[in-house]
Amino acid sequence: MRHVLAVTLKSPDPAAITALGALAGFMPGSAPVRILRYEVWEFEAECDRDSIVRTVDRYPDILNPNKQRGAFLDAELPPVAGDGLVWAGVRVVDNSSGASEGWTSLLRKAGTGISSVKLSVLWMLGYPPGTSAADAERMAGETAVAVGRTRGLLANPVSQAASIVLMDGSSGSDTVSGV
């Protein structure tokens, strides 16, 4: 069974703020007006979600309740506040991740019932109200992969893979500790 946990800072995310400023500076035509950043933990496990929550509670490196909050995703994207913005997600995964392998090894050895862990970063890009879904997808695509000095930012084209995910309104979430 697959369980996807999205973790974000309770305070404004410095990397998201930096990305917002950088994109506004060198790609003003495609820059969003707001960016949220999530660390996404994808667990493959035989156990149920309660067991995953207990594991997460034991490892503050996954979710530190003093500074982060997390939610299990039942859709591709986490729900965001209804501020009228049009959201698109850019999910960035390392092609060869020592961190994912390390966590897989650690949680397997700990007997958690988790068989694999895949880490990624989800950038939620918010575009002004009225932006069409097609335009949001195009602009997110333009910012997703750093193909050149003045084109793209969020993923390196060699070491990472980026995918665009659009908000379809069907997302739901379960809250884990620290909220």
């Binding site: 950088a22 392998e101 750093a146 193909v147 969020l154 084209p157 060699v158």
Partner: protein, 275 residues
């Protein structure tokens, strides 16, 4: 007024090796000076070379080097590199040059490589250690490597993202043929590294430094400025540099060069500075 060649060391928010790097340049007979990332381009036009020092520019946010590569000051570095001026990126500076598309520079300005998280059998994550490098087959054409011999050069590394990666169609032969192989991790005898710990991060082709096709841009993960003087070499280091360190008296320690000096003196020789 100094007639020495002027080398700008660019300090980004989070750089932390800029002053020692500038001092190494000055001690090699050049005029190294630190300029912040928001320095107007007009103030950088007269410099003869650039160094992007180590550190954590923009706190490594998004990806190491990714934000600094988009900064306006990097336009000046990019234009200077394209005009043939020497440019050196050390550690975080190397990450910036990769994210700029200046190295390997097969299609200049296009990002064709990555410095990914350390990942090799036996080791992952941040690593601080002394390693050995040897120049690549055509590295002597580079202004930064002109005086380097084929002997192993021991240098310190300190990074978590130093693994050179390329697209799957790139092999080591292409790197060598395109003269991109600047520095290669090696053992203390100078033989190319075949695994950890000689290759400390799983870098493709045991690559420690990458050159652009013209050879004037070098992106290297080890820190030569931390091995400029003999006293910086650990006494326990095996090989001739360790021997020299152990045999040195107080006066020799104070004055004798370390293995990292060759990069700065190569540049000085390239720019016509006589010692």
């Amino acid at each position: 007024m100094s007639a020495r060649p002027r080398i700008a060391v660019i300090q980004f928010p989070g750089s932390n090796c800029e002053y020692e790097t500038a001092r190494c340049l000055s001690d090699a007979g050049l005029e190294g000076y630190v300029r912040r990332w928001n320095t107007p381009a007009s103030e950088l036009e007269s410099c003869d070379a650039f160094v992007l020092p180590g550190g954590f520019s923009f706190q490594d946010r998004i990806r190491a080097g990714a934000v600094a590569a988009k900064e306006r000051v990097t336009d000046s570095v990019f234009e200077a590199a394209c005009a043939g001026k020497p440019v050196l990126g050390i550690c975080n500076g190397a990450q910036i040059l990769v994210e700029c598309g200046l190295v390997p520079g097969w299609e200049c300005g296009r990002v064709e490589a990555a410095l990914a998280s350390n990942h090799i059998e036996g080791r992952t994550g941040y690593l601080s250690a002394w390693i050995n490098v040897v120049p690549g087959p055509s590295a002597s054409r580079s202004p930064w490597l002109g005086l380097a011999s084929s002997a192993a050069i021991p240098l310190p590394i300190a990074h978590a993202e130093g693994r050179f990666m390329f697209s799957p169609d790139v092999d080591r032969a292409r790197l060598d043929e395109s003269l991109a192989t600047g520095l290669v991790y090696a053992d203390s005898s100078g033989a190319e590294a075949t695994g950890y710990p000689d290759n400390p991060n799983g870098s493709f082709g045991a690559l420690a430094g990458l050159l652009n096709p013209a050879g004037n841009v070098l992106a290297m993960m080890p820190h030569p400025e931390r091995a400029f003087n003999l006293w910086q070499v650990p006494p326990a280091l095996p090989g001739p540099w360790g021997d020299a360190r152990r045999a040195a008296g107080r006066e020799e320690l104070r004055g004798n060069p370390g293995p990292g000096r060759v990069f700065f003196e190569s540049l000085a020789a390239f720019l016509g500075v006589s010692r």
